[in-house]
Symmetry: C2
Subunit: 222 residues, 2 copies
DNA sequence: AAAAGTCCGTGGTATTTACCACGGATAGAG
DNA sequence: CTCTATCCGTGGTAAATACCACGGACTTTT
């Protein structure tokens, strides 16, 4: 039996993966899925590119970064994960044993690991929830697909300035509102696939041009 | 009852969406899914960004391009689809009514349209195949997720030369083998998100440097 | 066969970005 | 407090790309 904190339970309840699964059912389900709780210190790896994977990960607290190194040794930041988000679910559903990406804790984090096999294949006891789980997984994958497309659109812009703007705009509720991004400069550069100092240069010019204002990782579009 | 050509039936049989569904079952399944056959002439739209979508598309013959216009009016080519491939499946599973992308016929094509609602929700008669369908859809979405990540990796490269190489390498069976790409120069530029003439320039330099050889849309890595 | 249209390579130039090096600010460790 | 490490802005330069314009090759149309 897993011992989870109240806040971690709340994350599970509202996680996309467990939509429409009751609180009481969740316990038996977690047991059936072979759920394991893992604590990850900041900067520690939950998965390394090339590792064999057998579990899906669900973020309970903290923050994770999904990244990949290209052949030139540069890192590409693929996504930032918050509590409730999952990783390796595509590998699970595509039946890929070897991970193409790395997952690192960007802060001290807690992660729930769920067994691939038990997720996808019916077991007698979880049968009732199984269908619901698959349905949720379908929704998650579809959602991630669309967000990857959104990411591609950002990378599709030819100038650094437009990449920055199109990264920030969807995060900004309205012009003038504060946006706290989950990256420092170096990470944002890896996310936008540009040189760090070029990013700093361009941010400076944009501030000068009155397009935006920022301090540390808090931005404001004007 | 749909009247499909033999070759179109073969495509359906080997399509990822219908994996492990027998030939005899396929007919009744297609009827239950409200399948409609659509012929699309080259350059005609099967879907426009902003349109409301209610059907998943499955390519029977020809070739389709999935693209999106960014706010500057530049087109970003997201994917090239071949017979057996699907589009709008993520929209279907995420319950998005308005398409963020456009789908255009790159050649005269035949496409099968399947109703979203009937795909996702059980109907009494298709119950037996329904589970299998969902399972296949899960695999397709996962696969597409991974291919989008691969695409991002290409866009992640800072130099045009490396983008070109990393686009071609996975397509090349071995060094020296012919690779026929589904794009002309302008389309390849839109796929790699670079300027067309800059692409031509760089291809010329790469040929001069002995990195590759090409003629029209046939490439050879050396 | 001529005309029109499309595709693609090329030259030249202006912009943009990458790259390197440095130093100030800040936070954390001893 | 001091030392150290990290983060980030800055300047300067080399390199890469975008952008524009043009013309030749090839296709399709009439």
């Amino acid at each position: 039996m897993l011992s989870l904190r109240e806040s971690q339970r709340a994350v599970l309840q509202s996680a996309r993966l467990f939509t429409a699964i009751g609180e009481t059912d969740l316990d038996s389900l977690l047991a059936c899925l072979g759920a394991r709780l893992v604590q990850a210190e900041r900067d520690s790896f939950l998965l390394r590119a090339g590792d064999s994977v057998h579990s899906l990960g669900l973020v309970l607290s903290g923050a994770l970064h999904v990244s990949k190194e290209n052949t030139e040794g540069e890192r590409v930041l693929i996504a930032a994960l918050s509590p409730g988000d999952c990783f390796a679910e595509a590998l699970c559903c595509a039946g890929i044993a070897e991970s193409p990406v790395s997952v690192v804790a960007a802060a001290d984090s807690a992660v729930l690991l769920l067994d691939f096999q038990r997720l996808l294949h019916n077991c007698p006891r979880t049968c009732a929830f199984h269908t619901k789980l698959i349905e949720n997984m379908l929704g998650m994958l579809a959602q991630k697909n669309l967000s990857l497309q959104g990411r591609m659109e950002v990378l599709g812009h030819k100038t650094l300035r437009r990449r920055i703007l199109h990264y920030l705009q969807p995060l900004s509720a309205h012009p003038g509102s504060n946006v706290y991004i989950p990256f420092n400069r170096e990470e944002l550069a890896e996310y936008l696939c540009v040189d760090r100092s070029a990013l700093s240069h361009e941010l400076g010019r944009m501030k000068q041009d009155g397009l935006l204002d920022y301090h540390k990782n808090c931005f404001r579009l004007l």
